[in-house]
Amino acid sequence: MKKQLFTIAFAVLSLALFAAQPIKVGEKAPSFSLKGVDGKTVSLSDYSNEKGVILIFTCNTCPVVVANEDRIIALHNKFASKGFPVVAINSNDPGVSAGDSFDNMKVRAEEKSFPFPYLFDEQQAVLPTYGATRTPEVFLLKNKGDEFVVAYTGAIDDNANNADDVEEKFLDNAINAVLAGNSPNPAVTKAVGCGIKVKK
């Protein structure tokens, strides 16, 4: 009995560790269903008529996010009509980071007039399925008809801190590649961001 319990505990732990690994390009995008700041629940399946989704793990408090908010809004305004709307998710635990509460999400969404859904991953249930580690972190999802797959992960561009000194627009290029039927290159990029605050 004890041995069985250990085995189960070990299996659960390995699964948790495995799940914390970031999802890889080419893999199926996990579904989600989360409440947005307007009170409406948004699911990945709601986007089955789109070409894809720009899924961004973000928050209210991270200065790197703040430095990217206008870029995220611009991305939505540029690509939603081309079939790639933005969906933003806040997975930070308000118990660790009070500024990232649902009420504060509403305030931030209103201040910046977000034109896209801003969803709260209150149970931190979606976070491990994607294995996001920082804010902001992008997952570009491509609609294959019956499912979404990850086409690109990482940064918006090559200068997270300063929009005026960008040389390479990674995400723009990735979306354009997908629109042209090609694979994004690079498909994975990195940038300094705020570690996502997990429940303690």
Binding site: T133, R134, E137, F170, A191, G193, C194, G195
Partner: protein
């Protein structure tokens, strides 16, 4: 005669005032600013010292929580071959307004370097392939034995880790 003396005294006071004022207006701590190519040799030193390199920023709440732990480590192992290096990811335009005041307030003794290199996608994988860029993150190395931790530490955890590497 009296007015002459007063005049000299006055001048002396003014000079003293100017000297002390300029002394106060000197920045108390100067920050080394490096791009990644300049920082890189400090991540690959080939000697007997155990290097503890913490990537942090004053805008990162969990990083700030760890700063005193790294200070304690620096202090505790100052007679051992252990060197703590604090690599700040602060915004370059916030060095005067945030970083230096923070270092002074915390009375940080560990060496602080500002890494000012916007092409993060080029250098993050050179620190460690597994690093996504999330901070806090810590590299602990001695010669070619390297470990990278993309996580928050408690003091006990960090201390235990360093002890295990010294034994």
């Amino acid at each position: 005669m009296i007015s002459n003396k007063m005049c000299i005294l006055g001048s002396v006071i003014i000079v003293l005032f100017l000297v002390s004022f300029s002394a106060f207006s000197q920045p108390k701590s100067a920050i080394q600013v490096k791009n990644f190519e300049q920082l890189k040799p400090l991540l690959h030193q080939q000697n007997d010292t155990l290097y503890v390199v913490n990537f942090w920023a004053t805008w990162c709440a969990p990083c700030i929580q760890e700063v005193p732990y790294f200070e304690q480590i620096g202090k505790k192992y100052k007679d051992k071959k252990v060197k703590v290096l604090m690599v700040s990811m602060d915004f370059p335009n916030q060095v005067e307004s945030r970083l230096i005041p923070f270092i002074e307030k915390q009375n940080m003794k560990n060496e602080v370097i500002l890494l000012d290199d916007p092409r993060q996608n080029k250098w993050i994988p050179q620190v460690d392939e597994e690093w996504t860029g999330a901070i806090p993150a810590t590299l602990i190395y001695r010669k070619n034995e390297r470990n990278f931790y993309q996580k928050e530490f408690s003091f006990e955890e960090l201390d235990k880790l360093i002890q295990s590497k010294l034994n």
